[in-house]
Amino acid sequence: MMQRSLRTLNAPVSRMGGRYMSAAPAVEVTKVSVDKSASTKPNIKHFKIYRWDPEQKQKPFTSTYTVDLNECGPMVLDALIKIKNESDPTLTFRRSCREGICGSCAMNINGTNTLACLCYIDKAAESIKINPLPHMFVVKDLVTDLSNFYDQYKAIKPWLQTKDPESHDLSHGEFLQSKTDRKKLDGMYECILCACCSTSCPSYWWNADRYLGPAVLMQAYRWIEDSRDELTKERLEYLDDSFRLYRCKTIMNCSRTCPKGLNPGKAVASIKKKIADMH
C-alpha cells in the first residue's frame, strides 16, 4: 500500500483524471488523426457482486455482470453506477462524493477493503469480486450496518474538552496552537471514518462489540495528541482496558488497507506507549 505524502493529499484535484494540471503554456498544437479501430473492440470485464435482499426473504447469492471497460470510467464505482443504470437497478450500494473524501463507498474489492471511487478496475484480472465490508451485518446487497462503529466513535468523545470553566465562555476566542503541536495531528485528522481499517482487523471481527477498532482508536489518539485538549489523562484512562485497546495484536491489516494512506496501527502503538508511560 503506497503511503501517500501529505502534499498529494492536499493538492487540488482537477476534473481530468485526478491529476493536477498547471496553467496550460502557449504551445502550437498540430492536428493528429485518431485511429479508432483499436478502441472499438469491446474490453469486457465480469463483476461478481454479492447480493442479498432480506425483504424478499431470499438467501445471499452472487450476481455476475459484464461491463465494457471502453464505455466506462476507470474506477470500480463508475462500473457499479453503470451496472445500476443499465443492467440491474436493484443493485444497492452507498456512494456520495465519488472522489474519496466522504467514505460512503467502502467495500471489499478483490479481497481488499477500499473505497470504490478510488479503486481502479484491474485490467489484468479476469473478474472483479465485490463484497460488502467483511464481518459486518448486511442491510442489503453491499450496504452494511455501521451503527456500532459510529456508537464506538461517539464513546471516545471526539470533541475538545477543557477543564477551565473560563474557556467555555464564548468570549474566550480561539484556542491557540503552535505549528509543531499542529504537526502532531497530521496523518490522523484526514481520517474519513470509512471503516475500511476496522473491518479489516481480525481482532475487530471477533470482538466488534467491545474492541474499539483501529479507526476509532486513531481518532482517540488524535484527541489525546491535540495540545488544546485538557482531559488527556481521562482519555487515556478510558482506553486503558483489556478489550477497548488491548485487543490490538499489531496485526497491521489496518495500515495496509487504509485507502487514504494513513497509519492507524502506529497510532494504536503510540497510545499503548503513552499508557505504559502513565503507569
Binding site: 432480506p54 426473504k57 445471499p60 448486511v138 450496518d145 451503527s147
Partner: protein
Amino acid sequence: MSSLSGLQRDVLKLYRTLLRTAKNKAGVTHSPLEKLVQRKFREEAHSVHRHDWQIIEHMIRQGYKQKKVMEMPGFSAASIKTYDH
C-alpha cells in the same frame, strides 16, 4: 411451556421490549401504537419460515432500530401503509 430455541427467545424478547416501549410512549395500555406494534410483528412473523434464521436475525436487528426511533422524544405516532401492486 415447551422449550424454546435461542432464536425464538430473542424474538419474544424483542416483542416484549417493543410492547413495553409502546406502552411507555403512549402512557396507557392497548393504545393504537401498541396495536400497531402487534400487527406489524405478527405480519412479519408470518411472512418468514422458522428455519430462515438469517432473515429472522436481520428482522430482530431492524426491530431494535425501530425501538430506538420510538424512544426518541419527537416520536408520537406511526402508521403502516400497504401498496397493492
